[in-house]
Symmetry: C2
Subunit: 194 residues, 2 copies
């Protein structure tokens, strides 16, 4: 029998849960959603946002928890929308970003994700994932969520994230990379405890 360890993921975003669950299953981790709404601080550092949230939940509920925070950082816009990508997407959307990029020749951008892990009594740890890319001239595709329709990963074949299946996207995705970095560390860490 394969032993599978339960970790809670504090998120209300089912897309993120699915994406993460698939990856962590490969490391013997069974990810479970915590309905708890995590409190996020305002910061330009995703690490700080994710770690403070993980610590608060781990302390208050006494569980092993991961939190994730991610953002789109566009070079020509001085890293806008960065840590506030969710609110920016909910208000001005992909169209707003395309308006802002209308006359920009430098279309370089990156998605960054930070996964923070915390156990009740310990300091949280962060794991980073980055994917480099470009802002597409117009939105393409209907899969994924957020700014996926306007992000073309550099390592890809020219399609946006929203034109890929979940599995294809996981090859490149910042979030997938951050979760794999966490999974690898966690596996080592579990072995070291035995």
């Amino acid at each position: 029998m394969v032993y599978s360890l339960k970790i809670c993921f504090a998120t209300t975003n089912k897309h993120k849960l699915e994406e993460a669950r698939r990856i962590l299953a490969g490391y013997g981790i069974d990810l479970e959603m915590v309905p708890e709404k995590k409190r996020e601080i305002q910061s330009e550092k995703l690490e700080e946002i994710a770690e403070v949230a993980a610590l608060e939940i781990a302390e208050s509920l006494g569980i092993r928890v991961v939190t994730e925070d991610s953002g789109l950082f566009i070079q020509a816009l001085n890293n806008f929308p960065g840590p506030y990508s969710a609110y920016t997407h909910d208000t001005i959307g992909c169209e707003g970003i395309l308006d802002l990029m209308r006359n920009k020749t430098n279309r370089r951008a990156k998605f960054r994700a930070v996964v923070a892990y915390c156990e009740s009594t310990q300091m949280p740890r962060s794991f980073i994932g980055i994917v480099q890319g470009n802002i597409a001239p117009k939105a393409r595709g209907i899969q994924g969520f957020g700014f996926d329709p306007i992000f073309v990963p550099t390592e890809g074949d020219g399609r946006t994230f929203a034109q890929m299946t979940q599995q294809e996207k996981n090859q490149y995705s910042h979030r997938a990379r951050a979760f794999r970095n966490f999974g690898e560390w966690f596996q080592e860490y579990q072995r070291s405890l035995k």
Copy 2:
């Protein structure tokens, strides 16, 4: 002799300190800057951001404290940039907002400010100030800060906030109104304690 009561204002923005100090002096309050960097949570509600920050500082330092949070809410942009106005200003600036408004006929917007007051042992209280206005077709003026150069208050004479002196702006400003609401309440409150 006029008795003047000291209250700490947790901000790192000297413009805000000056604006608030001038107003509260009229209510017998001597506002002093707390160098403490306040921790702001992410929320669409300014009240929540200001109150959590005030409570944390009042609890940790054991002082009377006010915090202030404000934002520009643009109707045609679904309330963008809202609570994240500072980061939005630091990255895409007034020019970014003008780009987003390029084809918009509805240019209505409002500035909202919330002042939260907290004493160590009590629940924080919020005071709101709002000013209605329009987004100017281009930036005008050099006074003030933030989005002042593109905001024309409805009650004014067509000038932007950045074309007004501090004293003129205080007639209309959301922040001035929130601080006056606080000042009035505080004066009553002090009287009730005697």
